[in-house]
Amino acid sequence: MSGFGRMTGKTIKLRAQHLDSIAKHGEATYPYECCGILFGRLINGEKVLEELYPVENAKKQVAQQKRFLIRPEQLKEGERNAQEKRLEVLGFYHSHPEAEARPSAFDLEHAWPFYSYIIVSVKGRQAGELTSWRMADDRARFDPEQIISLD
């Protein structure tokens, strides 16, 4: 756990297959939002994504189009799951159907520090831009997080 204190890097390392899976999830749930949890490790303070944990969006039908929600029970289960695999919860991903891959004011209001927020824009059932964000510690804004491909 020693990596946490020294963590300064604003990067997340992942594989092309992860990006592909997030895009496919967003396309499958279109026009509704998809969401999931990012499992991985902190290696020398850098986030390395190992696994995606898709979650059923707790918001229903029409509302899903605008919002996503991962309930605390779902996250607790996800955390247990990560622990068994000796992984950490590094953040979350969700889709923005018919909108840009930019965090909204709502995203910021509800964000937690440290976590990566990966957003994929899905327009006309076609996944497009994919970005990752991390909230500044003073809650004032989201900073872009660099996505580094390990492939």
Partner: protein, 484 residues
């Protein structure tokens, strides 16, 4: 005394990289206070500017959500485990904050709402949120009257009104949005007129229709919040289901005689109406206000509580009735409160929902459409008010039995009738002669039919029920008779 606090990954790097810390305290509030005391960087992520826990911060004591215990006052003991668990939300760039940011208040509006605006809990920001908000009121009757007036006065930007009824004389005892001159007019027109006179800045949408499974989703989805002011189970379940499916908060209120209830159902954060009542009561078991009566002031109290919850919700202030059922007893003048839990097995908002679209609510509530009876197939055990009048005018000797309650008998009676309330008919048959012709009546005909059925089975062969009860008699035969 030390309590173990488990932190989510997101907060560990602000707490010396620890996943758990031991802290002193006798309540959740004290332990969390010790936590942010030891690690001040955590404060802004756990608490908002007003020092309240942020609504996406969930606290569990030994796996029990403190919302269902005593919230931050929940006591803790040495050895308890307190977990801080995030709920994660986000979404497209359209939300009430952004909407409110584009709203302006004119100098007239600022003056009108000044008693709101000078309170720090509302301020300009809160008043703009109210103006940016939209609320759907289902029903403009007893609850809808104070709701419509107060929400309009408070400056809610857009109100939708749903009603299909006309104002009746018997509404005026409680439905204060309507006046004596409005009797016979459409309730929507009458309500619209009063609201416009009170606050011309409010945008009004009117739906002159019953809310039904066919139109509910289309109507409700246009509003931020829904308030159910109706008095029947079909609409109550319909509004609940549509609100859960559309992720809308539903401010609930109900009234009966001297008692009322209120709560806020919002499946995202708490239980829905189906978590509380999975099934409707059998039809007829719970009397409506038309059957059982209601204190005229009662919908004022409950409607104003609903309006308060709606305004608090929009402002994002205070503690809402989500997860709490408020009970009010006007005779005792007491409020009580019950904790409501989300039912994990709820077919609508539970873990494995089986209801994913609206259903047939008449069928669900056991209500079949009224069959239309043609004269040719009229019940042979019925007698119409006109037929009864003609026979009495001819001087025929008929025994008339009134099966209503004594307080109803005080309002109006048929000449020479005997009062035997329905509940006593079986035990008092010896007072009647089975050979005689008997006409039974109640208010509308329902209880009369039950009494006739019971008497026929007991061997009374010449008994008939007055069709439409004394109410139809008053309309058809004796317009001077008071109706209720």
């Amino acid at each position: 005394m030390a309590v173990k606090v488990l932190l989510p990954t997101a907060l560990r790097y602000l707490a010396d990289s620890q996943s758990e810390v031991q802290l002193p305290g006798a309540s959740v509030r004290e332990v969390l206070g010790a936590l942010v005391g030891a690690y001040p960087e955590l404060r802004r992520h756990l608490y908002n500017g007003e020092g309240e826990l942020r609504n996406f911060v969930n606290v569990y004591v030994n796996d029990e959500d403190v919302r269902y215990l005593q919230e931050e006052k929940t006591p803790v003991e040495s050895g308890d485990i307190l977990s801080v668990v995030p709920s994660i939300a986000g979404g497209n760039p359209v939300d009430s904050e952004t909407l409110a940011a584009g709203v302006e208040l004119s100098p007239e509006e600022i003056k009108r709402y000044s008693r709101h605006i000078i309170m720090p809990e509302v301020g300009m920001e809160g008043q703009k949120k109210l103006k940016a908000a939209s609320i759907l009121l289902v029903g403009t009757g007893g609850l809808g009257s104070p709701l419509g007036l107060y929400l309009a006065a408070a400056g809610v930007g857009r109100l939708g009104l749903v009603d299909f009824d006309v104002v009746d004389y018997s509404n005026l005892q409680r439905q204060i949005i309507h006046s004596t001159k409005d009797v016979g007019r459409s309730k929507l027109q009458s309500a619209q007129e009063k609201i416009r006179a009170l606050n011309p800045y409010v945008e009004l949408d009117t739906y002159e229709t019953a809310l039904r499974a066919e139109n509910a989703m289309e109507i409700i989805k246009q509003y931020d919040l829904v308030i159910d002011g109706t008095d029947n189970f079909q609409t109550r379940y319909l509004v609940n289901d549509a609100c859960v499916l559309l992720d809308k908060p539903n401010v609930y209120g109900s009234i009966f005689r001297f008692e009322g209830q209120a709560s806020v159902f919002y499946a995202r954060l708490g239980p829905c109406y189906r978590c509380l009542y999975p099934e409707p009561p059998p039809p007829g078991l719970v009397p409506s206000c038309a059957e059982g009566g209601v204190l005229g002031i009662l919908p004022g109290v409950i409607g104003v509580i609903q309006a308060t919850e709606a305004v608090k919700f929009i402002l994002g202030r205070g503690r809402s009735l989500i997860g709490r059922l408020l009970l009010y007893d006007a005779l005792e003048m007491k409020f009580r409160e019950l904790k409501l839990r989300k039912n994990p097995a709820c077919p609508l908002c539970g873990e494995k929902p089986s209801i994913r679209a609206l259903i047939d609510y008449d069928q669900f509530c056991g209500i079949s459409p009224q069959p239309t009876v043609s004269p040719a197939t009229a019940d042979p055990f019925d007698i119409t008010p006109e037929q009864l009048k003609a026979r009495l005018d001819r001087g025929e000797e008929l025994t008339i039995v009134d099966v209503r309650e004594p307080h109803e008998y005080q309002i109006n009676q048929l000449p020479n009738s005997i009062l035997i309330p329905l509940g006593q008919v079986a035990s008092r048959l010896n007072e009647l002669n089975p050979e005689e012709e008997i006409v039974v009546h109640c208010k509308m005909g329902g209880r009369g039919a039950k009494a006739v059925d019971l008497m026929r089975k007991a061997g009374f062969s010449k008994v008939k029920n007055l069709k439409g009860g004394i109410d139809l008699w008053a309309q058809k035969v004796d317009p001077s008779m008071p109706r209720y």
